[in-house]
Point group: C2
Chain length 599, copies 2
């Protein structure tokens, strides 16, 4: 396997079977120890470590950490008592005869040795330094494992899709700017000055065109781009597993996606029990205060709107009141409850009302005294609390309050250590509304049209069968055939049945406040395509970076991307983006003035 | 297999085994014929055709070409004599009971029916129309086959690479502008006004960094971008199978690539005999007048420089004289030889000298009278011609003359029908020079530095072992460890051993006239990486569009790309590139003026 110009074996291929044989290995000096004039080198290659013994001090002297060396020598058993049972090659060592230094290394800005792997990661420098020297950071076994795991995920997804006869098709990335909820990256077109390409936010329209073309099962691991004000854990370019099918409904897509997901999880060593459970969007909001509920733990939100309908407490005189129990939270010190107020304020809430059920059954906390006797007496039962628990409340607009309680629920679980990274609670969220208010303050997407309504998913989502005739009469309540796949509180993918008829598409665009002229200009090609026999179709896309992050159990999507960017979109390694020369700028054509030609 | 909300079977799954059963199929009306009040519909889906019989005129009436329909009915054997042996489903038909029109179609701008497949393609409109209605063009069986073949190629390549334990890694596409011989597409960075990303011409530097990172076997089907003055058959974005390995030499990479290539060809139904033959760059130029020789036929160039060293003919008094035989060409009419003169002029030559060996052995043609008796007498033997052949000559600078003769050689073969698209002559071209003249008129790449020398491959190519010490003393003759893979006169890929030491890299950059400051600014990150232990590494990239075009036997790479662009970089379907709004332009930051902040 390892045979090449520089080696006969990979490090971990040198096992007891090789004892007595001559081998050549190549790799990096992972660690060096010296005992009584003899140098012991841990040689590292992409398969692992093997121990090299060098008796000749002259030869050993120059070797330093991360030097690249080629070693020829004989394999022997390690002396009794010197075996390393943690190592695949722990029973042998190679006695070096020839050592060739293939490349030297200066002292490293931080250590990458496998030997340090099981020590605390505290020795790692800040992420900026790791990213500046990404080529060194990637040598660390943890990063090697993660990037290789991602490759296995891709392979597993393709295997499952190939098995189902999907066809991989590459779609262009220099496309026309189309509205999909975020800002496009734009590329000036030198040959047609004044014109620009956009980088795709997704291959959405192109894959729909492929369905019109009769490719009934399409997929692609597609690079996508969004020019957002980068939030903590977003990247300007990202990858999605993009899938579309014709002559299918929502159930067909979900069944297909479950097979793909199960195979992806399997590639990372985890089993997914099928079918994946489902929850409606309304239930998810009511019970978990989130459209991407974390189901690794229970502790549902309890709605108390009815319970407090005649309350004397002004704060609870609101369209919605709900609560979340903090199991065992009654005994927390006052300053922790104060900290929760701060926590809530940082999320835009006024504060976080709470009560404590003391071990003796007494009700404590700032809210307690504002409640009526009846409310106090029945509260424990109403919220399913026990003595020793605390209860957090939110009251106000239904959705805003639920989102706050949903965040409280997750934060409690985090503090209780219930968010286990190697436990996966997958769920479908279904029965989404077709539209949402365009001015939703919790959403920073750019509204597409000039109306109070914007699409919950995107403008190409099919109204559910019940609503096809009248979604435009009642946009507030219209439902769609769309679905999200959620894992551990993260949306890892989503999709929908698409509109395949231009009459329905035009009515949806009208609700969104997009004029026929705008529609024609922006995606007239899709509306035109629908005139020539478009099949019913539906699809899904899985966020590849987020999925990899979940499966790798790492804290950031930057840890599953070989060369990620900082929050500002900067690449600490190459310095991109960077100024360009005047000549380059002139060639882009961005300063082209059409009037000049007329002078 | 076909089971979905809209069908129980795919069209071609409805075979004799289904006779007597109820089935549901869905697809497009490929063709409709009517006989005695009965409608016969060829229903098309992605697997092929099945015949539907509709007895109810009311139901059949509205159905037109390319309507999308769902048909429920019973399968029966076709009546005796009505079988179609050309069709997988030719022995059965479905008697329709329910017909649902899923989508209608207007009259098509051109026909896409499978029924027309074996008729002349003359009915196709011009390519502009095909590209404007690409979603219809892709319905044609020929396009379906080509795009699906490309997917199989990708699968075959990944299989071979997985087998050899390669790791697929995604590299970023918003990178820093680096010099690789062509113009970058540039993307303004909104968050850092005045700064720009570049789209990668290849992942070259990133994959070298991955080698420094210890990923010893990398691959990626990578999207690449070049902002060129689009020649006939180039695309602004293209795909390459990008591969890099550590601890290997040229032989290792070539052996690996041969396995990949053999598996790709196999996926398209062709066998490649390994090892693939090799030819040196010098031999390729001398014998075939090309660095990408078409070896489907022989007819080598004959050098006559020595033969004519004392010639009285002024035109042949040149550093190089060579000839190509046109077998049987002596009897061509005079106007054809005149046309060859035009052909040569269009290629930048002054003309094309020729002689004819008539059947009786007489020497004819404009050049004949200018030669000495000895030259005339020995010529037939010297060029290995026979009576009845014509011979074309070129004289002048060696390389220019050889390139002309190389083109003559291919053009003769084309006229003689020797360029068979389903015959593949693969060859490695090896032993390339390290540098070439920067002012080479046959090359429109942008010179990288400020010297008379530019890289034959790219600035990261390793000098061959013999030249490592003195390539900078004698750039003209220095050789490199690089290799191209050529098929049927097309370069489908190429690669090299890379420089992995910063001292060698700096010396190469110096020959190219790149100052240390420029080098540091442009790819200092790579030079820095080489300071921390870079392994010897080498790689290759295969042009995916060109390879697919060859294997599909189609005339243009546009035929193997789902949504290609026109020569100007325009997308006839979507209208990209297009003007952007003032608001979009403002957000790109291209008009940012750093001085304004100071006012």
């Amino acid at each position: 396997m390892g045979q090449s110009a520089y080696r006969t074996h990979y490090a971990t291929e040198v096992t007891e079977a090789e004892i007595g044989k001559d081998v050549t290995v190549s790799g990096w000096v992972d660690r060096r120890r010296d005992h009584g004039g003899v140098a012991f080198i841990d040689l590292r290659d992409q398969t692992g470590l093997v121990q090299i013994v060098i008796y000749d001090e002259e030869i050993a002297r120059p070797l330093r950490s991360e030097f690249v060396v080629e070693i020829k020598g004989e394999v022997r058993a390690r002396p009794d008592g010197n075996e390393n049972t943690h190592l695949a090659t722990g029973k042998i060592e190679i006695v070096a005869r020839d050592v060739t230094i293939l490349a030297k290394s200066e002292a490293l800005p931080f250590q990458v040795s496998t030997a340090l792997e099981n020590e605390s990661e505290n020795k790692l420098p800040g992420e900026d330094t790791r990213l500046k020297y990404r080529y060194l950071d990637l040598r660390r076994p943890a990063m090697q494992r993660t990037i290789r795991m991602r490759a296995k995920m891709s392979k597993a997804a393709r295997e499952a899709l190939d098995e189902m006869n999907f066809c991989e098709i590459e779609t262009p990335t220099l496309i026309k700017s189309t509205p999909e909820g975020a800002r496009d990256f734009l590329v000036p077109a030198r040959l047609i000055p004044g014109s620009w390409y956009a980088l795709p936010q997704s291959p959405q329209l192109l894959k729909q065109l492929l369905m019109v073309s009769g490719f009934e099962k399409y997929y692609q691991l597609a690079r996508c781009y969004r020019d957002e004000d980068f939030r903590a854990d977003r990247q300007p370019e990202f990858t999605q597993l993009d899938i579309e099918m014709s002559f299918v409904d929502q159930e067909d897509v979900m069944a297909m996606a479950e097979k793909v997901i199960a195979n992806i999880w399997k590639s990372a060593g985890f089993e997914v029990k099928l079918p994946i459970p489902r929850i409606s969007w309304t239930d998810a909001m009511n019970k978990y205060g989130s459209d991407k509920p974390d189901l690794r733990f229970g502790n549902q939100i309890v709605e108390l709107t009815d319970y407090f309908k005649n309350t004397p407490f002004r704060v609870f005189q609101n369209p919605y009141v709900g609560a979340v129990v903090y199991k065992g939270g009654a005994s927390l010190p006052r300053r922790q409850f104060d900290a929760w107020q701060e926590w809530a304020k940082q999320r835009g809430a006024k504060g976080l009302a709470y009560v404590q059920f003391e071990e003796d059954g007494n009700l404590k906390g700032p809210v307690a005294k504002n409640l009526s006797d009846a409310e106090r007496n029945g509260l424990k039962e109403a919220v399913h609390a026990e003595n020793g628990d605390a209860v957090f409340f939110a009251a106000g607009r239904r959705e805003t309050s639920q989102l706050l309680l949903g965040a409280v629920r997750v934060e409690i679980a985090r503090r209780q250590g219930l968010l286990k990274p190697d436990e996966f609670a997958l769920t479908w969220v279904v029965d989404f509304p077709l539209f949402k208010q365009a001015d939703d303050p919790d959403d920073d997407d750019v509204a597409v049209g000039h109306s109070k309504w914007t699409s919950m998913h995107h403008p190409f989502t099919m109204p559910s069968a019940d609503w096809i005739d009248n979604f435009d009469q009642d946009p507030e309540h219209a439902m769609s055939d769309s679905y999200d796949i959620v894992c551990n509180g993260e949306e890892i993918g989503g999709g929908s049945v698409r509109i395949h008829r231009d009459d329905i598409q035009n009515r949806v665009l009208k609700v969104l406040g997009i004029t026929p002229e705008e529609a024609q200009e922006k995606f007239g090609f899709l509306l035109d395509a629908f005139k020539f026999g478009a099949p019913p179709h539906a699809g899904i896309a899985l966020g590849w970076d987020r999925t990899a992050q979940l499966l790798a159990g790492v804290g950031s999507i930057r840890d599953v991307i070989a060369f990620p960017k900082l929050g500002s979109g900067q690449d600490a390694l190459t310095g991109a983006p960077a100024p360009i020369t005047d000549a380059q700028r002139a060639e882009t054509g961005v300063d082209y003035d059409p009037d000049e030609d007329e002078d």
